[in-house]
Amino acid sequence: MENVKRVDLIFGEYTQEKYKILEETMKKSNEQIITEMINSGLKGRGGAGFLTGMKWKFTAQEKEPTKYVVCNADEGEPGTFKDREILTKVPRKVFSGMAICGKAIGAKIGFMYLRGEYSYLVPDLMAELDIYHEHAKRFNLDFTIELRMGSGAYICGEESALFESIEGKRGEPRNKPPYPTVSGVFGKPTVINNVETFVNAVMIMKYGAEEFKKIGTTDSRGSKVFSISGDTPKAGIYELELGMTVAQFVEEFGDGDTKAVQVGGASGFCVPRKKFKDTIIGFEGVPTGGSMMIFNSSRSMYNVLHNYLDFFEEESCGQCTPCRVGCQQLLKGIQAVKKGEKPSSYLNQLLKLSENMKITAKCGLGQSVANSFSSIVDNFKEEMIY
């Protein structure tokens, strides 16, 4: 068991007393909170891995008096289900994290954007929110949290699309700049963080940046909640230390016949067996929002890729050319190669296309299709053709 290090931070104990950490944190100055966040080296858990403390700092510095905190609970990446687990087990920590952020940056309202698929969680979350608001009132914290629902659109997990959706519009990502820290929801400076990021913030407040830093590696501080699925006898949620290799991971979670691991969901990378040893899971290697999908040798990687591309051509918002048309072309292209309607060399054309999508698409969705596409096509070419 020394291969993968288990941690008990996210799901670990809050405090006996309700909202105690939050109450304690209220005694700190905003500068203290932000400095501690920066010192912890915490990177966002939603996928992009931006330094959370810096995000808070930039937003805090904005002169505009109205600011918002948004918790991204849209969790739509295939293979990810850890935010659901967090919201089920420790919603208190999530709301505390949002409130801490609200205090630190000077926001009075926070939104939690929950994907429609999780609407069954609403009653419990509302009940917890009532408790939160009661306690916030008790220690004079002027920060209310509202719940907003998605309705079945993966792209609304992209931060600017999410803002559009909260504003009652189609979830089409915006041009950047301006970034959310300057102009986010309702055009106001906004901190948007993943569910897990907010929980980490609470734990940093509880244990201090120094303790937090002891977990993980220089590039990937803290623990990470993994959603493990696919060909594994141990599918489920695990809180692990970042920085392990895929080989170590497979040894623990594989079924003995693992041929590939998809790290980071459909928009992540596919790591083939021959690269298990040299690939580190974390920001220094393959980053992941937590999704780990394990495939054994009975699986056709063509089917896997086909499934991802089906997903992307439906879930793209459709506004920008490289993504809207590119996804359709990649899918149609691999089908044509498989059927022999196009020569196998056409795959090279498609690889080139996916590279161009990466550098020209408007948002992260179109930009990351190439991750799975090229890592699967490059490593499993034969499966694509025959």
Binding site: N175, T321, Q328, Q329, I359
Partner: protein
């Protein structure tokens, strides 16, 4: 003083204002970056990605239309990386497209076509992902919508929303199914579309076009039994040249008349004649309303609003149906012309009106719908058989094989060929107001409007809403109740601005007596039937041509035109008289907003 920053584009160092986009910065040093979803009139979308460029130090390319230049940026616009990406993007657009250029109305005037040919894209590169069985929506009298030619740039949607505040069209669905759609994908004639055609002039491709009627007109011309009459609106003569080899802003009135005669129209007349007539009728209607309100204390709807713009008329019918009484009851000049063609003109010429085909050459798409309104039959026939756009006229002239550039000038025919400068300026925003004031002021005071050279400059220009106040002093005895009254007028163009004006009326807060509203930004010179492209630079040049035409006219005021005087003496008898009501005025219809 805006902060200045230094950047470098393709080796050219330049200093620009902070906040300038890379695309604009490049334009300022004559580096042309191709674009597609970008349009000067509209907010930035940044969705086509054709305009991508390389910025030193960045892995990803940057959409130059959407990205503000930053201090010290080094931009390269044509590296192999950029070229490869751009070619791919254009190829993708083509792969989604019904590339039937040979039969496309926008061929040679299409932004996708030019891009594809500039980048010489290989149509074999990608498989076709064009959706099967797309039907062209020809339900509307004015607009044709062909989704198979759509590049999904959303320019039309932004136009309809931002410039026109109509929102008849929207982006619907997502991913591969994303498309431009009406509510419930209903046919265009079943939705709130006001037919202004602005989406057409802002569409880069053949996806949105005006419905064409010129084939029927060619047939009529070829029919010896038919007498085909055409009248041409003022804005056509200052824009038509753009399609036929002249620089923007060239007046081609004389050549246009020659060309139309050569094409075989039996009579080429001037819509300006009925524009002058509109001024007489509308001017008196205004005075009548004011008299009833101020002298008799009656409750009449003021401000009065002009009704020459059929896009605007349909807009108010949909959006403010409870305020239709503010609209002047005057028909538009096109419809007055049509009604008179098949009555007055037919009588004078001794032609059976059933043999007359009356055609209007218009800068407008909404005129097509207007011509087909059921109430527009006061001559006993359909008053206007076809409203053609400037673009259709341009096409007809091209088809005729005429060497337009070298044609001699000729004059309009008669009857109904004479007009004043006041009628010409109908084409520019503020023009109807200016023309009306030139006449009304004189009717009330007996003197010319107190502006140098008759140019009422406060009502001119491209500002969205313009206001002016004119004090009536030393009035004629019949109008003594108007002594000292300050007449407040406003001018709005673009329906977004019309909405502002109407909201004031709705709230009972409108300070005006008389308002001119034109559906299209810039007025008719920027109409939905005008040559493409149209933007502010082009609008300004067309407007300048309009005012130059006005100044060159021997008669500058509507009430001084001899043919106008004559038609009142011999036919209409008096403004707002019985005959006028029958032929020149109309009523409006409440329509659904939702």
């Amino acid at each position: 003083m805006a902060e200045k920053i230094k950047i470098n584009i393709d080796g050219i160092a330049l200093e620009i204002e902070k906040g300038t986009t890379i695309l604009d910065a490049a334009k300022s040093v004559n580096v042309k970056i191709p674009s597609l979803c970008y349009h000067e009139d509209l907010c930035v979308a940044g969705n086509c990605r054709v305009c991508v460029v390389e910025v030193e130090g960045r892995k990803n390319l940057v959409a130059s239309c959407a990205a503000p230049a930053e201090d010290g940026m080094v931009v390269k616009t044509t590296t192999p990386k950029v070229r490869s990406a751009r070619t791919d993007i254009i190829s993708l657009l083509v792969s989604e497209h019904n590339t039937q250029c040979t039969t496309c109305y926008r061929s040679t005037n299409c932004e996708l076509q030019s891009l594809a040919s500039e980048y010489n894209v290989d149509s074999e590169r990608y498989l076709s992902v064009l959706k099967p069985n797309i039907k062209v929506d020809k339900s509307s009298y004015s607009i044709e919508k062909d989704d198979s030619k759509c590049v999904r740039c959303q320019r039309c949607v932004r136009t309809c929303a931002e410039l026109q505040h109509v929102n008849a069209i929207t982006v619907a669905h997502k991913g591969k199914d994303m498309k431009i759609s009406t509510f419930m994908d209903l046919p265009m004639n079943d939705v709130v579309c006001v037919n202004c055609g602005q989406c057409v002039t802002h569409c880069p491709t053949g996806a949105l076009t005006e419905r064409r009627y010129y084939h029927e007109i060619w047939d009529a011309i070829g029919d010896p039994d038919k007498h085909v009459v055409i009248n041409t609106a003022p804005s056509v003569r200052v824009a038509l040249g753009e399609m036929l080899g002249f620089p923007v802003g060239t007046r081609v009135t004389g050549k246009m008349v020659t060309a139309l005669k050569k094409i075989g129209f039996n009579s080429v007349l001037d819509t300006d004649f009925t524009a002058d007539l509109t001024i007489i009728e509308e001017g008196h209607e205004f005075l009548d309303r004011v008299t009833r309100a101020l002298k008799n204390g009656e409750k009449v709807a003021l401000p009065m609003i002009t009704s020459c713009s059929p896009g605007w008329v349909k807009f108010i019918e949909h959006m403010y149906p409870e305020h239709l009484d503010h609209l002047s009851t005057c028909k538009s000049p096109q419809q007055m012309f049509g009604a008179l063609t098949k009555t007055f003109y037919a009588e004078k010429m001794g032609i059976d009106p059933s043999k007359i085909v009356s055609v209007a050459a218009m800068p407008c798409a909404a005129k097509k719908f207007e011509a087909n309104r059921p109430e527009m039959k006061s001559s006993g026939y359909q008053d206007v058989d076809a409203g053609l756009t400037t673009r259709e006229i341009g096409h007809m002239i091209k088809q005729s094989g005429l060497d337009f550039v070298n044609l001699p000038d000729s004059k309009f025919d008669s009857y109904m060929g004479e007009s004043s400068g006041a009628a010409v300026i109908f084409g520019a925003t503020g023009g109807v107001m200016e023309a009306a004031l030139r006449t009304v002021y004189e009717v009330v005071t007996g003197r010319e409007v107190p502006f140098k050279n008759l140019a009422i400059t406060p009502v001119r220009g491209l500002e969205g809403i313009k206001e002016a106040t004119i004090k009536l002093e030393k009035v004629l005895p019949a109008y003594s109740f108007l002594e000292g009254v300050e007449v407040k007028v406003a001018i709005a163009h673009g329906l977004k601005n019309a909405r502002t004006i109407m909201d004031q009326i709705k709230d009972g807060k409108s300070p005006y007596h008389f308002i001119e509203i034109m559906a299209c930004p810039g007025g008719c010179i920027g109409g939905g039937g005008q040559p493409i492209p149209t933007n502010d630079e082009i609008r300004k040049k067309r407007i300048a041509a309009i005012y130059a035409e006005d100044e060159g006219m021997p008669i500058r005021k509507s009430h001084e035109v001899p043919e106008i005087k004559k038609i009142y003496e011999s036919y209409l008898i008096k403004p707002l008289g019985h005959k006028s009501h029958e032929l020149l005025h109309t009523h409006y219809k409440k329509r659904n907003r939702y």
